[in-house]
């Protein structure tokens, strides 16, 4: 081969010329393409925030770069091993003589970017303990003030206020208005929760918005909202979207309601339950008390007869007097519950009087005691002919002998 003559006829490139020509060919051939592969050699330059990685498959490897401008909107985290689809253009990095994919967009393969971000954040926060059931606070049973973090013009607040209006409830509602979707809404939501905590002007919070797509609900998946809910000293009920929607806020909150209406129901429902509970207790209180008094007055008669006979007036009268004094005192209280009951008590006092053994005697009844045991004779069959009985009437007592038992 005559190399000298061949060299004079060929064009001799400079390195830069060749590199530039290669670059132009590549740029023209691959101006915008999609490539799928596995991420490897992933690094992020801390100073510039540019991302460098390679996409690889079984036999080849493709160097990639994603500059800060393009990568700052990525919702999910990149790491080696992740399968992705990258969109961008091919060019050459002259200084290193290598071709690269300049990545403009990146999607996880098989899963939406938002869904992957959701899964990653959910795992990370779960591991940190933000969803722990032990950390969840109970919802107060009788809140007087409810704080609501929501859009003032959305469907959620309308639904909630309708329910509160339809039911009788006396509640104070304070709305801290926020945007519930779009860039920056998460910060507003977090700040609103913080403000309720700072001013302590609510006993329970409802963080809520109406239904929408994953993108619409996204702000309730942001970490800043999760942390604001976790750190809230006021219990938080979350109600985001429809029944099937679960956001990170729903996992962190102290109680998740499937819809905004359900959240209102949860808050009120407790109160209605309590009201009927108190009414029940009042009913039981009255019945138990009156039953007890009846039993006691019967016992007074049957158990204390002999004692009462020995000290006839004092014992009964004392008890009656105490009861009358109580009725007087309760009657002065001016309370409806008590007034209603004093009427029943007054009726009872009358019944007590009637059960007083001595007033029974004064009506002509007598009391007989079998001698010598002094057992009170209530039935004729405990007697036999020849028994001696002591009989007490209103004034005085006498002893007689049983001549005949008659059964009626």
């Amino acid at each position: 081969m005559n190399s000298l003559r061949t060299l004079q006829e060929e064009h001799i490139f400079t390195v830069s010329e060749l590199t530039r020509d290669i670059r132009l060919i590549l740029e023209n051939t691959f101006p915008k393409i999609w490539v799928e592969g596995e991420i490897s050699n992933f690094t992020r330059h801390y100073s510039s925030d540019h991302i460098y990685f390679s996409l690889k498959d079984e036999s080849s490897i493709l160097p990639c770069v994603m500059f800060k401008m393009k990568n700052r909107n990525l919702k999910f985290d990149l790491k080696d091993g992740l399968q992705v689809v990258a969109g961008g253009r091919v060019s050459v990095y002259d200084k290193q003589g290598k071709y690269q994919l300049y990545v403009e967009s990146l999607e996880p393969k098989g899963l939406g970017a938002l869904q992957l971000a959701f899964e990653q954040l959910k795992q990370r926060l779960a591991k940190e303990g933000l969803f722990d059931p032990e950390h969840k606070k109970p919802i107060p049973v009788l809140p007087a003030k409810i704080g609501i973090v929501t859009s003032p013009t959305g469907a959620a607040i309308r639904d909630i206020l309708n329910i509160l209006k339809r039911r009788f409830s006396n509640l104070e509602v304070i709305i801290n208005p926020v945007r519930v979707q779009g860039e920056g809404a998460a910060e507003e939501i977090a700040r609103a929760i913080q403000e309720f905590n700072d001013f302590k002007n609510a006993e329970v919070l409802i963080v809520t918005r109406g239904g929408g797509s994953l993108e619409d609900l996204w702000e309730f998946n942001e970490e800043i909202v999760a942390r604001a809910i976790y750190n809230s000293k006021i219990p938080v009920i979350s109600a985001v979207g429809h029944e099937i929607d679960w956001t990170i806020a729903d996992f962190v909150s102290d109680l998740r309601a499937p819809t905004p209406s359900a959240a209102a129901e949860l808050v009120i429902g407790e109160k209605e339950k309590i009201i009927s509970e108190v009414n029940d207790l009042l009913g039981r209180l009255n019945n138990a008390f009156l039953n007890r008094i009846e039993i006691l007055s019967k016992e007074l008669c049957s158990l204390k007869e002999s004692y009462a006979l020995r000290q006839p007036m004092n014992f009964i009268k004392q008890r009656q007097q105490e009861l009358d004094e109580l009725i007087q005192a309760l009657g002065k209280s001016g309370n409806n519950f008590i007034n209603f009951n004093t009427q029943r008590l007054a009726g009872l006092s009358g019944r007590l009087e009637g059960l007083n053994p001595l007033s029974v005697l004064s009506r002509g009844y007598s009391l007989s005691l079998l001698l010598p045991s002094k057992e009170i004779v209530k039935q004729a069959k405990i007697l036999k002919e020849g028994d001696l009985i002591e009989t007490k009437v209103a004034e005085g007592n006498f002893i007689s002998e049983v001549k005949e038992i008659k059964n009626e």
Binding site: I157, L281, F289, I293
Partner: protein
């Protein structure tokens, strides 16, 4: 006199009702418990009626001040 909380009052009321229902109290104790029960019921119902109905919205004014206004849904 400091008022007891609602939840406490309710618990005490339940206890008193059970004691009266169990049925072994003397007349004196029955009267005492009944009176206390009525007082507790009265307290509970006061707290249940307590709050007023109000819907307000927070408005951020200049200088970082936050005020509340009635909300017209």
């Amino acid at each position: 006199m400091s008022e007891i909380k609602f939840e406490e009052a309710l618990k005490k009321l339940e206890k008193i009702v059970k004691e009266l229902e169990e049925g072994n109290l003397s007349l004196d104790d029955s009267l005492k418990k009944y009176e206390e029960g009525i007082k507790l019921t009265s307290l509970c119902s006061k707290k249940l009626e307590g709050a007023k109905r109000k819907v307000e919205i927070l408005v951020k004014k200049e200088g970082g001040k936050i005020e509340s206004e009635p909300f017209k849904g």
